[in-house]
Subunit: 165 residues, 2 copies
């Protein structure tokens, strides 16, 4: 069981590592709709936790304070990787962690750097992960599609799986 | 007002047309979680309606029958286009429409073609659209990011907008 769990986490990390931007989906506070915005994934830990930098004053932080259920959608056409992750978000104001995760590219959003008082981390603990891994390249999938058309047999859409964490 | 509406629809169509795969997000029937899966967008109409082919027997169809609120997430890193669309889904079993939307690539999922009795269309009427359009190429955005780092000024993240339909 532990081995299976570790293998699942490894698969998740492998798939997320090639992705720089995902859609972080939260729940609107009033109308029960979803709200989403593209976010850079700063890091995925060895235990599958995902980290994001954001502004403490942003609306998504209010939303997470009210409802910590979030989802992460990834539709990376170029790598042909597709992930839908459900999880729980936690707001983390930890200078040591921020320092560990900091990258100079973040200065574009936080010109004051690590001294920005409006900086906060979002940590997402995945609870359910669905992925569609169309093999390592788009070409391979295209070949499968074409083969299915030729043979009249149904296309097996990559290796689809649900990772239980 | 009508002109503004038409301009918004045009912008939506322009952004969606370059995308072949999105994450179609529905509501799980039991646990209040979200479920998502990559889906090919068959067409976006001139009035912004989005069409998908699917199997009538699939679980997502059950979900839509119970709750027609859906979302469409697009995170297209290569074109640097990011969209979050909320809308209402309708299941449509209309042979004429299927014929109009049919493309031979769909044979990979429907080997029987238009005669497949398990074929159904999902039509999504967008109600709220958020987009992040990082200009026409990734390079331009990278330049903005670098410029912000150099000047210490905050990065203006592309042209962000909410399209009200």
């Amino acid at each position: 069981m532990i081995q299976e769990h570790n293998k699942n986490i490894e698969k998740l990390i492998e798939m997320v590592k090639g992705v720089s931007t995902c859609m972080l989906i939260t729940n609107e506070k009033n109308d029960g709709n979803l709200s989403g915005r593209p976010m850079s994934i700063s890091k995925i830990d060895n235990d599958g936790m995902m980290w994001f930098f954001t502004k403490a004053s942003s609306y998504k932080v209010d939303e997470i304070e009210e409802n910590k259920k979030v989802s992460i959608a990834i539709t990376n056409e170029s790598s042909n990787n597709y992930l839908m992750i459900n999880g729980l978000a936690k707001l983390v104001k930890d200078k040591t962690k921020m320092k560990e995760l900091w990258s100079s590219i973040l200065k574009a959003w936080f010109p004051l750097g690590l001294d920005d008082p409006d900086m906060i981390l979002i940590k997402v603990t995945p609870s359910e992960v669905n992925y569609w891994d169309g093999s390592s390249s788009k070409m391979v999938v295209l070949f499968h599609i074409l083969k299915a058309i030729v043979t009249g047999k149904e296309f097996e859409e990559g290796k689809e799986g649900k990772i239980n964490l």
